[in-house]
């Protein structure tokens, strides 16, 4: 596997493709079944956000080795409208699409490290890291 | 130059050793190893100084240093015994060399003397410290494994009923492991009811309660029921005082009550046979009647 790979999100079916790829990479990296599911689910949420709110974007995967630990970095990038209020989207139950409002706070709980950056009119980048236990 | 210095040191080793032993013995009172019997302390000191000299003579002797380290580690002596000992040794030796008449030692430069002495002693101290940390790391990793093994056994009681006793402090890392074990165990044993016993959990704070609630909800999602048992009075108090809502989960004070409830949930109950001593009483009664 290449150190970094990515999937473009353009249509709905790409969500499934992105999470399947994430699961495979996680499996290869040595994650357990539960963490594989956590990673795949987080990717699914991120990819759906791209599809719903920005129309298109990418999900990229990178294996990270630091201080004897191995991790997987998932980065979701889009150049969509951006998020006006970052603290609001991190609240459980907040939704603009009629969903459960579990997306971003859920992704944060599924990951070990989480970073959200957004600029209105320019786009959004979400990065999360999961460490192999 | 180095050779000349080494010669001086080796030829006069008796004097240096004597000085070192004196200093070490006077230091003993201050350090935290004063409870060690004098005899053992002296023989170990002799061995220590022998190892140092052998190492200087042969330009490092890792095997004997390792042997010595192992011995001191097994004795349970602190690392400071070794670092202090070498520090004193350095001082004594430098003192001795510098106090030699100038023509004998060939060099006057104090820094060069220091450099030679450092070159002799640094590898020894490095190796000894490595041996010590190595043994600590091993202990830590062994304890980690032991803790994981201790984590969460899942025990089948009767068909479709299992129990999981939790013992010790629960942190996030352990909680995740416990939850995964719990769910796999529930599936593998096909349990409809699982009893989680928290008698052995010393403190239930919001974090621990949160993990227990998550576990119970996950158990429900896979299609089983969770009963929380072993809630001590002080735990009940903290749970309510912290405002944690456990009302959605069946709870019981003891494992026994929990087990009876689990039987009820799986449409069973405990049936007691007629007691033997009742029969005996009847027998006695009938004899009396005659």
């Amino acid at each position: 596997m290449e150190p970094q790979s990515f999937v473009e999100i353009k249509e709905e079916w790409d969500i499934v493709g992105a999470r399947q790829m994430g699961r495979n990479i996680a499996k290869e990296a040595g994650f357990g079944t539960v963490d594989q599911a956590r990673i795949a689910t987080a990717i699914s949420e991120l990819a759906r956000n791209i599809y719903l709110y920005a129309g298109s974007g990418t999900i990229s995967y990178e294996i990270l080795e630091k201080m004897g630990r191995k991790g997987l970095i998932i980065t979701a990038t889009d150049s969509g409208p951006g998020i006006p209020d970052l603290s609001l989207v991190m609240e459980d139950g907040y939704t603009t699409s009629g969903g459960l409002g579990a997306g971003l706070p859920g992704v944060k709980r599924l990951s070990d490290e989480f970073d959200l950056r957004s600029e209105e009119g320019k786009g959004t980048t979400v990065q999360c890291i999961k460490w192999v236990r | 130059m180095d050779g000349k210095l080494k010669e001086i040191v080796l030829e006069n080793s008796d004097v240096i050793v004597q000085k070192w032993l004196e200093e070490i013995n006077s230091d003993k009172e201050k350090s935290n190893i004063k409870s060690i019997p004098d005899e053992l302390f002296e023989t170990t000191n002799r061995e220590f100084v022998n190892v140092i000299f052998r190492s200087i003579k042969n330009n490092m002797e890792p095997a004997s240093v390792e042997n010595f380290a192992e011995k001191v580690i097994n004795l349970g002596w602190p690392l400071s015994y070794i670092t202090d000992g070498l520090q004193v040794f350095r001082r004594v030796m430098v003192n001795y060399i510098v106090n030699q008449p100038a023509e004998q030692r060939d060099i006057a430069d104090f820094t060069e003397v220091m450099k030679s002495v450092d070159d002799w002693l640094d590898p020894i101290i490095r190796q000894l410290v490595d041996e010590y940390t190595g043994s600590w790391e091993q202990t830590v990793s062994m304890q980690k494994v032991a803790l994981q093994e201790l984590s969460a056994p899942i025990i089948p009681l009767v068909d479709n009923i299992t129990a999981m006793p939790l013992v010790g402090t629960i942190d996030t890392e352990r909680a995740k492991l416990i939850m995964e074990n719990l769910l796999d165990g529930v599936i593998n044993h096909n349990s409809q009811v699982v009893l989680i016993d928290i008698t052995g959990v010393p403190i239930v704070d919001t974090m621990v309660a949160h993990h227990i609630i998550k576990a119970a909800e996950a158990v429900r999602l896979v299609g089983a029921t969770c009963i929380l048992v072993g809630i001590r009075p002080e735990i009940a108090q903290t749970i309510v005082n912290l405002g944690i809502d456990l009302s959605k989960f069946p709870t019981q004070s003891t494992m026994e009550k929990g087990f009876r409830r689990a039987l009820e949930l799986t449409d069973r109950k405990i049936v007691e046979f007629d007691r033997k001593d009742e029969n005996v009483e009847n027998l006695i009664h009938s004899i009396k009647g005659e």
Partner: protein, 118 residues
């Protein structure tokens, strides 16, 4: 792609065997409600043994379809949720609180009898 819905007396049985994308999920919601209406079913078992991932969208569709079925008089039981899926749902903050669950199809049917008081 459509998820097959089987009829068994008063009940409907669904076993989801494939990766569910959003369209399939919505299609399934429609199909199931229509089937309940056609057959006047009183109970539904949805078996998720082969499902490896449920994200918040699919969870919402499932939750919705359960509430909708309830409105139409059919009780839904979810069966075979995998441990990894259960843990992920909890992490997402989705508890499916009022949904009855069971470990497998057999126990799911038992649960339905109980829920319906039959």
């Amino acid at each position: 792609m459509r998820i097959p819905i089987l009829k068994l007396n008063n009940y409907l049985l669904i076993s989801i065997q494939t990766e569910i994308d959003d369209n399939t999920a919505i299609q399934f919601q429609e199909d199931l409600l229509n089937k309940i209406h056609q057959n006047g079913s009183s109970g539904v078992v949805i078996d998720l043994t082969s499902v490896e991932i449920i994200d918040s969208f699919i969870a919402k569709v499932l939750g919705d379809v359960i509430s909708m079925s309830d409105l139409m008089g059919a009780k839904v039981v979810l069966t075979g949720i995998q441990p990894a899926v259960a843990l992920t749902l909890i992490d997402l903050g989705i508890h499916l609180q009022d949904v009855p669950t069971a470990m497998d199809l057999e126990q799911g049917l038992v649960k339905l009898y109980q829920e319906l008081g039959e």
